[in-house]
């Protein structure tokens, strides 16, 4: 029955959104009535928000409030939810490819293979989205404070340095939407500054950022907050 209702709901919301779109451009990302429960516990229900180009949104909430789950749902890594997600006004499931080509996700696990060098890691992860040159990689590593570390095996790096390797991807990616899950955890003061500047610069050029962190963001731009605690 719930399935049927959802089906009907999706049909009706679809038509209404089609009617409203001509007046203003569709937001980059729109979440509508998200519902998610885990282990018989409701994480969030009736959660709706939009993310415009130029938005920096910090997802807040206590431990276990579902921040990571929300980000993974938005990226499509988690499909156990109910509700609707739209990318530029189109349901995400209908055109996943164009959504994925505009998305950069950095999760808890940084996606850095410890056996490979920083350069080899970046070459692969960028090859999945857009080609980059070796000098681009060198520049990116320089900018995240890893100059000279390009050809060192990531096994020999500290956790913070590995995190910086993954942050270098922000500089190499053409993605419009950044979804960052606790990117500040292992960074030192300088690294935090670098990342904050990166976020501000990305927002300034019309990108959008969704970030979870317990760190107090100090950015020279508007900061929106989404609180998951009820």
């Amino acid at each position: 029955m719930r399935q049927l209702l959802l089906l009907l709901m999706s049909v009706s919301t679809h038509t209404s959104s089609d009617l409203s779109t001509p007046t203003q451009p569709a937001p980059l990302l729109r979440a509508q009535k998200l519902f998610c429960e885990r282990d018989d516990r409701v994480l969030f229900t009736d959660l709706s928000f939009t993310l415009q180009a130029g938005d920096l949104m910090q997802v807040q909430g206590s431990n276990g409030s579902g921040k990571t789950t929300l980000l993974r749902i938005l990226c499509g890594l988690n499909s156990s939810y109910e509700g609707e997600l739209f990318w530029e006004g189109v349901p995400i499931d209908e055109d996943r490819e164009s959504f994925l080509s505009s998305l950069l996700y950095l999760g808890h696990r940084v996606g850095v293979n410890k056996i490979l060098t920083a350069r080899e890691n970046l070459r692969w992860s960028c090859a999945l989205h857009g080609p980059v040159s070796d000098s681009d990689i060198d520049d990116a590593l320089y900018n995240v404070g890893l100059a000279g570390y390009a050809d060192i095996s990531c096994r020999n790096m500290s956790a913070g340095q590995q995190q910086r390797v993954s942050l270098a991807r922000l500089l190499l990616s053409p993605a419009r939407l950044w979804v960052l899950d606790e990117p500040f955890t292992t960074l030192d003061v300088r690294g935090v500054k670098v990342l904050e500047n990166l976020l501000a610069a990305h927002v300034a050029r019309g990108g959008a950022v969704l970030v979870t962190t317990h760190h107090t963001l100090e950015v020279p731009c508007a900061l929106r907050r989404l609180n998951l605690d009820r």
Binding site: M1, R2, Q3, L4, L7, D40, S80
Partner: protein, 249 residues
């Protein structure tokens, strides 16, 4: 059509309807089973080669036919789970796996009991028995995967996928085993259901028994699915009401 389909997917609807069907199914099964067993054991003439041993067929063939139907059933349920995310389909698939494994085990056991007087050994690497054995392993694999994954949702999808892969594989396994068997050793001079000259006095009770055992399978599946529904929907209002009703009675 679709409305009906989605209503069928509602656990509550299924629970209520199956409650109404169950008594009728019980009556039908009892009738078929008593007629079938009495006919098969007392009135079917002895086989000219096998004597009374042929009567094992009346248990073995129906049970085996159900264990063969089990994988397609789970695969269809798997497709419904993955495509329409219908929870009921997964509940049915989850309950069908152990029941199917039991039926397969019984089919293997009755096959062995039948094989003893015919082949002179409890186990032969006969094509049918072998592919039945492999299918048993596949079912065990699905059950093991289900019990290994903690999240109900992930377990549902993973088992659905494995059932589909398994169902695609079952015919391949069956044909490769038959091919291996016929070329490896001389074809067994007795094959279980085809050789004997069948008259209606032999196959009519067999058909009755097949229907009876199917009823039994459906009843077990429904009973087990009803338990699963109550467990998974225990927090929904209708189950709470139901339990309250039961305890006041």
């Amino acid at each position: 059509m679709w409305q009906w389909f989605f209503r069928l997917g509602s656990p509550k609807w299924f629970y209520e309807m199956s409650g109404k069907w169950l008594p009728w199914l019980f009556v039908l099964m009892t009738a078929l089973l008593s007629v079938g067993i009495v006919w098969a054991l007392l009135y079917v003439p002895q086989d000219y080669q096998q004597g009374d041993t042929i009567r094992i067929m009346y248990v073995h063939v129906p049970v085996a036919s159900i264990s063969l139907a089990c994988f397609p059933l789970m695969a269809v349920a798997g497709v419904i789970t993955l495509v329409w995310k219908m929870k009921l389909a997964d509940m049915v698939a989850k309950c069908a796996a152990p029941i199917g494994a039991w039926f397969t085990a019984v089919a293997l056991a009755t096959g062995a009991i039948w094989g003893q007087p015919i082949w002179g050994t409890w186990w032969a690497w006969d094509a049918r028995l072998t592919s039945m054995l492999i299918q048993f392993f596949l079912l065990i694999g699905v059950i093991a995967l289900r019990s290994a994954i903690e999240s109900t949702d992930a377990a549902a999808k993973a088992c659905a996928l494995l059932s589909i892969v398994g169902a695609i594989n079952v015919p391949i396994i069956k044909y490769s085993v038959e091919w291996w068997n016929t070329l490896h050793q001389p074809a067994s001079n007795f094959s279980m259901a085809e050789d004997s000259p069948f008259g209606p006095e032999i196959w009519v009770p067999l058909v009755i028994m097949i229907f009876a055992v199917y009823c039994f399978f459906v009843i077990s599946l429904i009973l087990s699915t009803r338990n699963e529904i109550l467990e998974r929907e225990r927090r929904s209002q209708w189950v709470v009401d139901l339990i309250a009703d039961e305890s006041t009675k």
